[in-house]
């Protein structure tokens, strides 16, 4: 254990003054935020340690934003159970937290005889996971459901409960919930070392040491590194990159469902899906990498997606592209989540690959149950503070459409980001919130400002200036 003499004055004060936390959650992605929020609502003293400057800035921000049912997960796995339960919890908690969901249904399309043959086994798999609402669709029914599909579809499966979620707002909602209910959020606090002695963990971070009785590792891409720091060695993360192309909102009317391909052994394949923000998504690629920071897009990746997209829905490619991005899935060598509770008061929540947002609430529920079973004293908050996130979904009323709200506060009537119709009021709120945006990317995820078709042609200069000015005032 570090002696006080070795610490900076600030760190020394933290050690002296601050009592140990009940739980330290490592990783401010969707899974870490969900766990932290659930635990703080059980009256525990919880610290959430995020390595970067913002929550939800890793895998949680760059994915396909699908609200999965788990119909295609391997039966009997943690993943199958937690995704199915998480799917339900997202809907149940949606009104409290304010996040939108859109139950569009998914249409899994077979494009050749082999794929058509495999639809039966996909249905059987779904039933084995406990999902029984799959419907078989003929060729003509497939085209009735999705008239703009390219030629060559032979048949398909409709999964009515798959849909769209808002990956950005879910993380922000959970992190905000955590903070307003008394949790301690530390950003730029990567865990660099760990000691476990006398029944407590001590974690080293650039923001000083943190003591906690329990540690929960939800460090996503770095969950294997954190696992080793904590003296375990259970798995290795191989980042699997997914590049995606976002088409303009004017393309939204072309697509009605999440259009899935028949998955192969290695990948779920390239899909075309609406987004809850009203765009259309094409992707992802699946590239196994070694570099956990390789979030760039590549010419080969984008060209490959265009080729696949042209076959799936030729009309889509006539529309303008508003963004391209890539995310890294935290895939491990195991075919399931790496979830385990260890006797040294450590919970491993690693290898949560592409279904993490759908399962996050169920994972949090599981962690709470496991800690309670091991004698952690809890008391559920009778009246937790609630803060609903602002709505970014096109299927619900946005602030710019809300006459009463504008009359009460004209800032909601001053549209700054014209393409996405983001008002001054929303930008202000995001920069002043309990978990404020610290930079332009954080602002984009909280409001969609600058995420539209013009990419800053109209408002980039103004919004960037506003962000640095306001974040400077409120958070020196």
């Amino acid at each position: 254990m570090a002696t006080l003499a070795n610490l900076s004055p600030k760190a020394a004060i933290i050690v002296l003054v601050e009592h140990a936390f009940d739980v330290a959650v490592i990783g401010g992605g969707v899974v870490g935020c969900a766990i932290a929020s659930a635990l703080v609502r059980e009256s525990l003293q919880v610290v959430l340690l995020e390595a970067t400057a913002d929550v939800g800035a890793g895998t949680s921000k760059a994915n396909t934003a699908i609200w999965h049912t788990g119909f295609d997960a391997k039966p009997g796995t943690h993943e199958a159970r937690l995704v199915a339960r998480g799917h339900q919890l997202l809907a149940e908690r949606g009104d409290d937290f304010g996040w939108p969901l859109e139950r569009t249904g998914a249409l899994l399309v077979a494009w050749d005889a082999d794929q058509l043959f495999r639809l039966d086994s996909i249905s059987a798999n779904a039933r084995a996971t406990g999902y029984a609402r799959i419907e078989v669709k003929s060729q003509s029914q497939v085209y009735e459901l999705e008239p703009n599909l390219g030629v060559g579809a032979l048949g398909g499966l409709l999964v009515p409960d798959e849909g769209l979620l808002d990956p950005w707002s879910i993380v922000i909602a959970l992190a905000t919930d955590f903070v307003v209910n008394g949790g301690t959020l530390r950003r730029k606090a990567a865990v660099t070392g760990a000691v476990h002695e006398a029944g407590a963990h001590e974690l080293h971070t650039p923001a000083g040491p943190v003591r906690a009785a329990w540690v929960i590792n939800a460090a996503g891409l770095n969950s294997d590194v954190v696992d080793r720091l904590l003296g375990h060695e259970g798995f290795t993360i191989t980042p699997r990159r997914g590049q995606l192309i976002v088409f303009d909102k004017l393309a939204r009317s072309l697509v009605k469902h999440v259009i899935l391909p028949v998955p192969t052994a290695t990948t779920k394949g390239v899909l075309v899906a609406p987004t809850i923000y009203g765009n259309v998504l094409l992707g992802p690629t699946a590239e196994d990498l070694t570099d956990k920071a390789a979030t760039e897009t590549t010419a080969t990746g984008l060209a490959g997606l265009f080729e696949k997209g042209r076959a799936i829905m030729p009309k889509l490619l006539m529309e303008e592209v508003t963004a391209t991005y890539s995310g890294l899935r935290a895939a491990s060598e195991h075919s399931d989540y790496c979830y385990e509770v260890f006797p040294d008061n450590y919970v491993r929540v690693g290898g949560i690959r592409s279904t993490g947002i759908s399962s996050a609430l169920a994972i949090a529920e599981q962690v709470v149950a496991d800690l309670r079973e091991r004698g952690v004293a809890m008391q559920t908050l009778a009246t937790p503070a609630t803060v609903a996130v602002p709505n970014l979904a096109e299927s619900r009323m946005r602030p710019y459409q809300d006459a009463a709200r504008i009359a009460a506060d004209p800032a909601y009537g001053r549209i700054l980001c014209l393409c996405e119709r983001v008002s001054l009021g929303e930008v202000r709120d995001a920069l002043m919130s309990p978990v404020p945006a610290g930079d332009i990317d954080g602002l984009r995820r909280r409001t969609r400002a600058l995420a539209g078709r013009c990419q800053g042609f109209h408002c980039g200069a103004l919004i960037t200036e506003m962000t640095s000015a306001w974040s400077g005032h409120s958070h020196a």
Partner: protein, 420 residues
């Protein structure tokens, strides 16, 4: 914010969406015809459109017959519109449009309201195609701009784009970006174009490059953006496939204009596949009764004075419609384009609507042609042929509208093409 008087729903004769050179000039011209119940709505803080932050000379040549700096030109047009009786509402965004009922939905600090108009004019302009839409791979650092973002940053926010910039594109607006960068004391590492030469005036190219000594890299494409948080360089590839990295801290994507067509599409107007904007006839009338369109939403991107002259020209057609509404053509022929002609406007050919703005049809080439000769044919009949002074991508060229009178209403769609 202080309490604002709440704006309520209202009826006007003419509502113009966009207070750029086209919209402002239209309002002035309507005023001259005695039509003053005109409301111009703009989402920006001030009227004027692009020239407002494009702080250099060259505006006002064809319309005002005098060279002006952009902001001066913008101010002049706005003042003239107001003197003609028009009202200008800024910071107000039109979020939807209903062509049948001729209503628009507006969000402004003063409220959310509906305007019903006898005539709606779409003057929403165009934008530069940003990096993402050009599918440029790489990381997503800051320091990637379009010219408009750059010019607003420098001229309106008085901010700094960086120290070393690469300019992508070599058309008129690219040289406008050069001026802005130099004003901000940013050096220019290179100008990169995928075409075999620049598309602007030779005097701009020679002048700018001699004065500020930067290379024009031709037949070169940007293949990657580098840098984690801030741009550190761009990778470019030449015609032979060789790549190199240009060190820089900012990249300006210039030109490659796209019509700002969201409202036109939401209104269900017939869209011209070449321009992406609404198809209009020679009186700037769209396919929907009472809805007109002017400026660069029709021809991305002509210079500001040509947009202004669209506006001036549209006034007569709008006045005629206000006097006798109901006479909207139900079916028009369409001007089709072939080969290296990307678009031509006006492209709706309505009988008896024979005089286009400036007496010209604007034509855009997709590839460079030296002294091209064009023809318009309908069935087996040649309606017109002639040489045009240039065939340069990104620079619309005018041809005569004299042949509009020779179009047979019962014939097939006329075709505009380049003669070999």
């Amino acid at each position: 914010m202080p309490d604002l008087p709440q704006q309520t729903d209202e009826d006007v004769d003419v509502v113009v969406i966009g207070a750029g050179p086209a919209g402002l000039t239209l309002a002035h011209a309507l005023g001259e015809l005695g039509i003053s119940d005109v409301l111009i709505i703009d989402r920006d803080t001030q009227p004027g459109g692009v020239p407002r932050y494009s702080d250099h000379h060259g505006y006002g040549i064809r319309d005002l017959r005098q060279p002006l700096r952009g902001p001066i030109y913008a101010g002049h047009l706005a003042l003239r519109a107001v003197k003609g009786g028009a009202r200008i509402m800024t910071e107000a965004t039109v979020t939807d449009i209903n062509a049948e009922q001729r209503t628009i939905e507006v969000t402004a600090p003063s409220g959310r309201f509906t305007i019903h108009a006898k005539v709606i004019v779409i003057a929403t302009g165009c934008r530069e195609r940003p990096r993402a839409a050009r599918l440029i791979p790489g990381t997503r650092p800051s320091g990637v701009f379009t010219t408009a973002w750059l010019q607003r940053l420098v001229h309106l926010q008085h901010g700094s784009p960086g120290k070393r910039a690469v300019i992508v594109g070599a058309e008129h607006v690219s040289y406008s970006a050069v001026l802005t960068l130099r004003h901000a004391k940013c050096s220019i590492v290179a100008m990169v174009t995928e075409r075999a030469r620049h598309d602007s005036f030779t005097v701009f190219n020679i002048g700018a490059r001699a004065r500020w000594r930067f290379p024009l890299l031709r037949s070169a494409t940007v293949t990657r953006i580098l840098g984690d948080h801030q741009v550190t360089g761009v990778e470019i590839q030449d015609r032979k496939g060789r790549t190199k990295v240009l060190d820089c801290d900012s990249v300006i994507f210039t030109g490659d204009w796209v019509a700002e067509n969201e409202l036109a599409r939401r209104a269900g107007l017939l869209i011209d596949p070449g321009t992406g904007g609404p198809a209009v006839d020679a009186h700037q009338a769209t396919s929907a009764p009472g809805i007109f369109a002017i400026g660069n939403v029709l021809h991305p991107a002509a210079t500001a004075d040509i947009c202004a002259l669209d506006g001036e020209h549209a006034a007569a057609g709008i006045a005629a419609y206000l006097n006798a509404p109901g006479g909207w053509p139900t079916r028009s022929l369409r001007l089709r384009t072939e080969g290296t002609i990307q678009w031509a406007t006006p492209s709706l050919l309505t009988p008896e609507v024979l005089n286009a703005a400036r007496g010209k049809v604007l034509v855009q080439f997709s590839e460079r042609r030296r002294l091209p000769r064009l023809e318009v044919v309908q069935g087996g009949n040649r309606l017109w042929s002639g040489f045009v002074p240039w065939g340069i991508p990104t620079r619309p060229v005018p041809i005569s509208d004299s042949w509009l009178a020779r179009v047979s209403a019962s014939g097939s769609d006329p075709v505009l093409r380049v003669l070999p």
